[in-house]
């Protein structure tokens, strides 16, 4: 281990240390605000440290880790999202009176796991990261344990995630058995376009199952609505952004490295998954009456869109996927922020009915929520549009017509349920509306901070996207070239 090694691992060390510090703090004296403050500081510090690290990238820590610009960008996304989730959680948990402080340990560890995924180049570190993330999430999902649906969601996630991990592990074992390496670079060199034996193919297929579960794509999506619905809103936001972001970073790195585009059958498998995700996700959300479930189903569809970018396999695809993921993270974080800010104790405002006539009572929140819905639907001048535009151009460039057509058609279906929420918010309020305690609660400073930040980002991204695009291109475009050059 050299000084550069430590230096380049700085963000992870910061997060891990923060988790230990929080434990000590709890041992000394429980204080919700102090613990939340330490977590926030850790995320902020880790985020800022990324800028310093750009000086030494790409830096490899053989055999497990690689820190390149691509990893830095995804870590940035993870830390920023975790920062927002921490702020939201502080606000959300305030009204509960059981032990709240451990929540932040779990949050820190989950973020640690997700960032490990982003920098992994070896099956061992991948699995380690995935398990750190998953185990923390089990507890996070079921954290409000006085709440029946919450426990149910936690249990479901626990069992299903364990099952999918088993698939993943078995898949890795098969790949290792047939290729003789667990390092992505080695694998890339070993394969470099050579044909895959059946053992390796089955191994990859099983890995797709494991990764597909984490990304909640069809047919591994069944858990999504129940877990999204049951988990506390900030945790749902965390799953939607950090967990999926980390796993997607891994997916991109792994499959781009082994140059999946040479293997027709794997591409077909992903295409089937992408198409099914886009259709099922959007159709399932159609007549839902629960906002969190709508967003859960829509997340299935959005991951399908992301796969389209990934499958395009040209020089735009990594950019487009990252761009879309960033836009999606901003948007979905905003949407769940509002759900979480409007929620009262033991009762979240997640029914569509709760949002009826919201505009007349909370005009600013409704306007922000509307912007988020528009972005999800991909309406111009929002971040979502830019992302979708890039995905489409990536798809069109590679002439993936089937995927592109399905994307466009299902987006139209998607518009319906996003607009349903918007229409509900702007419809005239009636007198006999069920009074939801959370609706009238005033938004705290931290909530305002998160919402304002996200809204500005969303609109900025949509209106002046060029800066973001250049940033992302600078950071992630290298990924493909690096691995392509490795094969040659």
């Amino acid at each position: 281990m050299t000084a550069t090694d430590f230096f380049s691992l700085m963000p992870l060390i910061i997060i891990a240390t923060a988790a230990v510090i929080v434990m000590i703090l709890i041992a000394v004296k429980r204080n919700h605000s102090v613990v939340a403050g330490v977590s926030l500081a850790a995320f902020a510090l880790a985020f800022l440290s990324l800028f310093r690290i750009t000086a030494v990238t790409p830096h490899t820590l053989p055999p497990l880790l690689i820190i390149d610009n691509y990893a830095l960008f995804y870590m940035g996304l993870i830390f920023a999202a975790s920062f927002a989730v921490t702020l939201l959680s502080y606000n959300y948990l305030k009204s509960y009176n059981f032990n709240l402080e451990e929540y932040y340990i779990l949050l820190l560890l989950a973020a640690l796991g997700a960032s490990t995924l982003a920098i992994s180049q070896h099956f061992v570190s991948i699995f380690l990261g995935l398990e750190i993330l998953s185990v923390s999430l089990y507890a996070l999902i079921a954290y409000v344990r006085t709440w029946e649906r919450n426990l149910e969601a936690g249990l479901k996630y626990l069992i299903l995630a364990a099952q999918s991990s088993a698939f993943l592990l078995f898949g890795m074992a098969l790949v290792y058995a047939s290729l003789g390496s667990m390092n992505i670079n080695d694998m890339a060199q070993l394969l470099s376009g050579a044909n895959l034996g059946p053992l390796a193919l089955i191994g990859f297929a099983l890995m797709i199952v494991g990764i597909g579960f984490k990304l909640a794509v069809v047919p591994f999506h069944l858990w999504t609505p129940d877990v999204y619905h049951g988990a506390p809103a900030p945790v749902t936001a965390f799953i939607a952004t950090v967990s999926k972001g980390g796993v997607f970073a891994l997916l991109l790195r792994f499959f781009v490295a082994i140059d999946i585009y040479n293997y027709e059958s794997l591409v077909i498998a992903f295409s089937v998954i992408a198409i099914a995700s886009m259709i099922f996700g959007n159709v399932l959300a159609l007549l839902q009456n629960n906002v969190k479930r709508i967003l859960a189903y829509s997340s299935i569809a959005h991951l399908g869109y992301l796969l389209v970018a990934f499958l395009s396999g040209n020089n735009l695809s990594v950019d487009a996927a990252t761009l879309y993921l960033t836009a999606y993270a901003i948007t979905i974080m905003g949407a769940f922020s509002i759900v979480s800010l409007l929620s009262g104790k033991e009762q979240e405002s997640d029914k569509l009915e709760d949002y009826r006539g919201l505009f007349w009572r909370r005009p600013v929140l409704s306007a922000v929520f509307t912007a988020m819905m528009f972005s999800l639907a991909g309406i111009p001048l929002t971040a979502g549009f830019i992302g979708k535009y890039f995905i489409l151009s990536a798809g069109v460039h590679s002439a993936k017509w089937l995927l592109v057509i399905v994307l466009v058609l299902t987006s139209v279906i998607g518009l319906f349920y996003y607009l349903r929420i918007v229409v509900a918010m702007y419809s005239a309020p009636t007198d006999d509306m069920p009074s939801q305690p959370g609706i009238s609660r005033s938004v705290s400073f931290s909530g305002v901070l998160v919402l304002a930040g996200l809204t500005i980002l969303l609109v900025w991204f949509g209106v002046f996207p060029q800066g973001f695009i250049s940033l992302i291109q600078n950071m992630v475009s290298s990924l493909q070239d690096v691995y392509l050059s490795m094969i040659v």
Partner: protein, 138 residues
Amino acid sequence: MSNEIQLWPFAVYTLSVFLIVAIMVILSHFLGQRHKEKETGEAYESGIMTTGTARLRISPQFYVIAMFFLIFDLEAVFIITWAIAFKEVGWVGYLGILVFIGILLVVLLYEWRIGALDYAVSGKKIVKKFKQLNKEVI
């Protein structure tokens, strides 16, 4: 696929598995004897009768302590691994294990402080809570 593997033996094998199972079930259905006595439905037809319920309540603290033991026990494995390679890993290894043991200590401290190590709820706490409740009532 270029390196074609022969699939038909696998298919034959699978088929024969199903076939044998089916034959076994069907044959025993027709050939086996059937009777219905008083004890036929019992769990242990030829054993000792069960008494009481299996759902005993054991203090959760029991499991918690057991789990902690398991976890800390397992951590010893890492320390032993380090000890074996003590010379080879040098100062970096020493530093690593120091951090590792440090974290274990913090965890222990944490568990002690949140009362996870108490086998029973301490009397002091009960008295304290009682007083607090009393105050609230008054």
